[in-house]
Subunit: 177 residues, 2 copies
Amino acid sequence: MNSSRFVVGTHIMVALAGKALLCGHFGMSTVVSSDELAFSVNTNPVVVRRLLSLLQKAGLVTSKAGRYGGTTLAASAQSITLRDVYEAVEEEGLFHAHYQGPNMHCAIGNSIEEILESPLSLAEKAMKEALSEYTIEGLVLEIMQIHKIGEKIEAGMTYEEIKQEFDQESTSALDKF
Amino acid sequence: MNSSRFVVGTHIMVALAGKALLCGHFGMSTVVSSDELAFSVNTNPVVVRRLLSLLQKAGLVTSKAGRYGGTTLAASAQSITLRDVYEAVEEEGLFHAHYQGPNMHCAIGNSIEEILESPLSLAEKAMKEALSEYTIEGLVLEIMQIHKIGEKIEAGMTYEEIKQEFDQESTSALDKF
DNA sequence: CACATACGTAACTATTAATGTTACAATAAC
DNA sequence: GTTATTGTAACATTAATAGTTACGTATGTG
């Protein structure tokens, strides 16, 4: 796995879930545009849309074109695990075989793929099972704790006030959460 | 992981262990050259030597330059697991973070790496633990069973006779096991 | 010692994958 | 009809992998 798609895809999912939780609480729109996501991820909106396309094919998000369009989660953050995100955005097959294939006229070469099948698939399965222990909701709650967002809501702060605290160091006018 | 280094590295280790087991039984040299390994793997000897260099740094094999030089296992095949091979030849860090880094002026961006550290390291650990269940010896025994090499030894066949059975379809004069 | 064989590694090429970017058609709200 | 947004094609850039050639170094054999 040489890509950052899984980490970026997870970032996107957490951002969508965070927006849903916070803006949902204030009765505001929970739709997020690829521009906003690209700002948070620090990349190009097209890169985000490509990932959203994969996440959409996996049924994890719903996107809508046109004015006031954007993306929302297609299921509850509680029901989506890191395994779902991984499988949505990463290629099949964690381990790659020989580029040119082994020499089949060799006792080792003609059996190596057969005997490695089980170890490699079990190792990949173990990794995915570890990822399935983490939900998007769990990650969002961690972030809310780090930034004490629950306390701010309890204290009666408005959405704008909460958001402003993250805008202070930034010069951009884009929405950050 | 976009490389085939782990699969090829394992192929090499199994070939070395197979040579040690079979030639050891007949009192013959158990040293294997990078040319022989490259033949089995179906690649260039330099590619093999680069992998052997990594395996050597990890203490898994011993190489010797000069005439009648080559490589042998540095430990018993029973004591070497696929995890050892994986760690010897693959890069650190199964999961890659954002290329340009997330936007730190964002509530999600500035925490995403922190909250992903635990899930990602646990997933990688789970994968490695699955690999550690398999020894090089176990894989060699599987191959010997597939080719009924134990039975051939029991039946009194010589090394040359056993080897010849794998040479039949091949046109090369190189040693294949 | 001279020779033959093999490792170790640098240097270069070719191929592939990932990311970033520009551009634009299609879509949808207002 | 205007504006904002997705979806995707096309292309450029960068990095990693694998393959190859070349050559210095090491070492057993005669």
